[in-house]
């Protein structure tokens, strides 16, 4: 059962996208997502993630981080725990001095948040105060955070740097800094390959997708020109990581497919949509070297498809699980695609 959490007029809502079994003869999906419950939220929702089956951690533009609990028996939402002023500026002029919390990532019971104040917080779901806070971790805004390993996190910032932080060490310095070669284009999102932990993808303000191998070098392995505006989110498919999804301010959502069966067919038989493009990538030892890291342009191809036919406003967020893709736009609409690989 797909659960989607959405934000409308600063409310957190839980929707049911229906049972996976509820499909017709040709596999079409019947019915629309139904609103199950919602609750008021103070400030814009900048990011959110499920902590476990019932709890969701939400990052607010006011700098507050809240855990909401979804009570499935009576379909209600309640605020379980709140860390006020997790992120804040030291500015005498503003009355509250809150800084937006821009990113949150969970690894139950640990929660890591980053914000416009350049601060990194480590919380535990059951503890009132932060376990650890790195003040001034970055002189610019931290836009996103994700776990690299259970004790290491990755952050991206608005001067185009990818940083690894080792939470075991007490020093408030990153253990490694990576940056793009040319202009310091801000990076907005980051995701790690689910199986091969050295492969990291980031998205930038210029819509560029960068793939990094963090074992070697300080610069990206490949730079792929994709969107025409900020790339807001990038996600590897959790169970099928040959597939990557990116969404952007330009209103498009791209599906990047490096699975090998694409290369078997001759190119003119490919069933691409109107906006399908082909990029060359090789797959020398497909089983060992991921297609994402290959840099021999002769062999295999990567198929890129825009999943949105009539794009207008920005696609702000997406998530993918199994055959299900969910994304939300600035037109205050949520879309559910339940047959991603059909």
């Amino acid at each position: 059962k797909c659960g989607i959490v959405s934000v409308q007029d600063n409310r957190i809502s839980i929707w049911s996208a229906g049972d996976l079994g509820n499909t017709g003869l040709n596999g079409e999906y019947h019915g629309e997502p139904r609103l199950l419950c919602d609750i008021q939220h103070n400030g814009d929702v900048m990011d959110m993630q499920f902590l476990d089956q019932e709890r969701i951690v939400v990052a607010s533009s006011t700098g507050t981080v809240t855990i909401f609990r979804h009570h499935q028996n009576n379909q209600t939402l309640s605020a379980n725990h709140r860390w006020d002023k997790a992120h804040y500026h030291v500015d005498q002029d503003t009355s509250c001095g809150g800084a937006a919390c821009t990113g949150v990532v969970c690894n139950n019971p640990e929660i890591v948040t980053v914000g416009e104040d350049g601060r990194i917080n480590l919380f535990r779901a059951d503890q009132k105060d932060a376990v650890r806070t790195i003040d001034n971790a970055d002189s610019s805004t931290l836009h996103a955070v994700t776990f690299l390993r259970t004790t290491e996190i990755l952050t991206v910032n608005s001067i185009g740097q990818l940083k690894i932080w080792d939470l075991r060490h007490q020093r408030n310095e990153p253990s490694q800094i990576f940056s793009l070669a040319g202009d310091r284009v801000p990076l907005h999102c980051v995701d790690r390959h689910p199986n091969q932990q050295h492969i990291v993808a980031t998205g930038g303000q210029d819509g560029m997708l960068s793939i990094w191998d963090i074992r070697q070098g300080t610069m990206p392995v490949s730079l792929l020109n994709a969107h025409e505006a900020e790339m807001w989110e990038v996600h590897f498919h959790p169970s099928d990581p040959d597939h990557l999804f990116t969404c952007s301010e330009d209103g498009s959502l791209w599906h990047w497919d490096t699975s090998t069966n694409v290369s078997e067919k001759p190119s003119f038989l490919h069933q691409g949509g109107r906006s399908t493009a082909y990029l060359s990538h090789s797959t020398i030892n497909q089983s060992v070297v991921s297609a994402w890291l290959s840099n021999d342009p002769t062999k295999d191809r990567m198929e890129i498809t825009n999943l949105i036919p009539n794009q207008t406003l920005s696609v702000n967020s997406l998530d993918v699980l199994g055959p299900c893709l969910v994304y939300g736009t600035d037109a205050e609409a949520i879309y559910v695609n339940r047959q991603l690989f059909a």
Binding site: A100, S139, S179, N310, T312
Partner: protein
Amino acid sequence: PGDIGLLLQNKGLCFAWGPAEVLVCETLFGRAGESRSRSWAGRALTGSVVAGTENGAPSSSRVFVVRRDQDIYIQTLRKLFNESHGIFMGLQRSEEELAGKSRKAQLVQVSKNYRSVIRACMEDMHQAAVSTRDPALQGQYSTQVSILSAMELIWNLCEILFVEAATAGPLLLRLLDWVRLHVCDVDSMVRDVLGSESPSKHKLFWNVVDIFVLQGRMDEARHLLSKEATANPASMNMYKILDDLMKKMPVPSLSNTQTLTELELKWQHWHEECQRYLQDGTFASNPHMESICKILLGDEDAILEKKELMTTWYHFLVTRLLYSHPTVKPMELRFYAQSSMDLFLGGESSPEPLDLILMAAFEFEMHQVIKECSIVLSNWWFVAHLTDLLDHCKLLQSHNLYFGSNMREFLLLEYASGLFSHHSLWQLGVDYFDHCPEYGRVYLELHIERIPLSTEQKALKVLRICEQRQMHEQVRSICKIMAMKALRNNRLGSALSWSIRAKDAAFATLISDRFLKDYCERGCFSDLDLIDNLGPSMLLSDRLTFLGKYREFHRLYGEQRFAEAARLLLTLMTAHIAPCSFWMTLLTDALPLLEQKEVIFSAEQTYELMRCLEDLTAGNPDKQKFQDDDVETTKVEMLRLALARNLARVIVKEGTVEGS
């Protein structure tokens, strides 16, 4: 805004404009200069209650917050705004090359899409009204439902008459659909009657039959009548005749199987047949059936008797047309409409705004329709989108308003401006401004600068919009605002990031100065992660370049690469990369290099350094400053000494012949 009307008794009104609202309050002050009371405590413009005295007695003043376009704050209407935006954009982008029928079909589809959005909204609003427990909210929702319903009614009529421009024949069918869909709630009555044990005995039975006939739903009427016939075999004969007449009634068809003339002929025959049966007294014993026969003959009085069932004059109009003039032409509608309204209202009640709008539509007065709707409705959504659609149908001549812009553009500008006062719907407004060729850009420029930038992400969205439209002024302005905010919050990296986005060299210089100032105060650099990784952005401003290079000097020194460090330090001064204010610091940094065991600076370099020092001290006419400040004088003395010593050593070193 409550009871502003009560304000103006013997008092004046003063107001102040805010970003999204107006503050209004009453005042005893007349125009500037006059005052009726001596101890007035001041104008209330801040939202607080102001106490004043009038002839010694205390009185209090109230401040009102007047806000336009309250509708944008209604939750359920947001779906309307969002979805219609999508339809609007689709229409603007649709291919104009399609001509004739396919273009018309396309436009009709757009119209239907708009209407289905209105209906979806009505549904949501209705659900909200039913599920809420707050009576005030329920009232508000119910009002909205009726407003939306009226909007759909008007739009549907405009679609039939203007967009589709239905011709005689199909016109009647469309009007019948329109009436069936919108006027009077038949379904619940039908359910009651059919659900009862013996429908023909139900008290509403004949009402339902009548309304079916009035709406031209012959099959359904006949089906019900058959129940009456089975229950009442005595009337079997009458029933068979009536049934036959109803079955044979000629109606216009949508396909071109018969011409209008053929239809008229058939209809004439049929009409005469009905007439015969009526005059023969066939239905005399059953007043209900007789009445139906009269209706079939288009007898106005008979139809008017069923006023309560029809509920509106436009239902009456369509029924009349169905039974007296089914091949009515569009241009003939106005006469029938006027007389129908007069007959129906009969001088008892006067027409309501909705009636006037519909009348204007029947009279094909498009401008009148739009004008009336603008006055009656509380926001511009309806007229803006309808006018835009009509404009795409090429139906509106440019109706020049005093500032010269055409009506479509005027309405779209008003609508979009309203959207801009909302914290997230403003994004829709941008697209509307884009499609206003004359003033859209100017409006956008003014509005976009006033969007509150509460988070960086919002600022980025606004920036992207400005960049896409080459609004360079606004880009610079927004980046400056964000950079200043960041600077105030000590987020120097963020501030630099915003300067880079705007290519704002002046601001980059400001930030660099801030870094340098911090360094001078604390003796070390903050935010090394930024300065060490400036990359090509270092070239944005000279000061920034200096900062990067200066940091590099420190790094080289730290790595004990003294010769390179020395060279760099000198270049910073001689190539005038360093600002003059910093030269003292640089020279002081040279001290440890001069004092090294090994000679680092060459003779030439030493001369250069001396020259720099002299330039620095001599160049300042206000020597008092230097002489009074002991620390400064000591520093200069030390430098002179060190330089001299270094010079001595290096002359010897360079003069010595190696290895001989």
